[in-house]
Subunit: 200 residues, 2 copies
């Protein structure tokens, strides 16, 4: 099956691009469904799984709670989540043409020879984009947003090191690197979709 | 006027892409014409100008020939070439929609807000591409080609430092970075042309 993966800087519009690329007839966009599936299989909370995938295994779990060592059961969960994630991603790739944003899918699904996209933008553009998505009352200052964006990207970079990728965002790892600064994602998505078809 | 600039790794197919992008109705591809125009204005040899632009001013000219200092006339030429180059590029950009490959056009024409493309590929792909272009009897070994490719890219990187660019090839400097490994330039060019239109 044809797999398109999107890696992206936080706030660059990678998720929107992913959703729009899935307008290609026959393609499905996978997002929260991945965590929902893992949660169901492991009988765990979906939000907890999302955070774990975002921040990497082990990091979420302190070795001690007060004086008590983390239980083998909790540590076991930390191993199960990445294993299940890989299983879910591979099942998706085996059964449908798909667009997957983040989740180290470009590395995990390497054997499927995905078309790999990296989406980025300049900081000002990312801040503006984040502001436009903020819920009322949740408005952070540009300075705070810049800090959050950098922190999220650092987490993504760190997460990828778990898969042996030490150069997240290096253009050599991708087929197409898209700078969304000053571009309307709605308008560029159809051209990227056409471009990606040439890979398969 | 709309300006598309292409920066590229040696052997990645940037020139072919430039030519094909100029199939966009109304666009003109500028290549050797630039050096020919400079040569005419300065009454100098076109090949000499090409080498000078490729390798950077001053570098071509030793300060001494035997015991004789390089003449002020020769040094003057080294100043005139980059000045004329900038003039020619700006004239082109002012009079026609255009595609310009290399020549630091992305920096020199910054005020025209060009759509900036960077073309790259993995080394194996570039070697193969260079081999396919070699004239009979000029076949270099893959090892020799790899060395030449690296040398050319180092020169391009160094040339750009003359314009204050210390990070040639860094994706943040471009709107679109295109990995041509495993892609047919003939097939992807129309999609890139459509994409570029969204910039203007």
């Amino acid at each position: 099956m044809n797999v398109i993966t999107i890696s992206r800087e936080f706030g660059s519009g990678g998720r929107e691009l992913g959703k729009r690329l899935a307008d290609i007839p026959g393609y499905t966009y996978y997002d929260r469904e991945i965590e929902a599936d893992i949660a169901k299989r492991l009988d765990m909370d979906e939000g907890y799984i999302s955070r774990s995938i975002e921040q990497g295994a082990v990091m979420n779990i302190p070795l001690h709670f007060g004086r008590t060592l983390a239980s083998p059961y909790m540590l076991r969960q930390q191993i199960d989540i990445p294993v299940e994630k890989q299983r879910v991603l591979k099942e998706i790739a085996a059964t449908s043409h798909c667009v997957i944003v983040g989740r180290a899918a470009d590395v995990i699904l390497a054997e499927h020879k995905p078309f790999k996209i990296f989406v980025y933008a300049d900081m000002q553009h990312k801040i503006k984009r984040c502001q436009s998505y903020s819920a009322p009352g949740e408005n952070l200052t540009p300075g705070e947003l810049k800090k959050s964006i950098k922190k999220m990207d650092a987490k993504r970079r760190e997460y990828l090191t778990m898969f042996g990728v030490s150069d997240w965002g290096d253009k050599k790892n991708y087929h197409l690197c898209i700078n969304t600064t000053g571009m309307e994602i709605k308008k560029i998505a159809p051209h990227i979709a056409e471009y990606a078809k040439e890979w398969f």
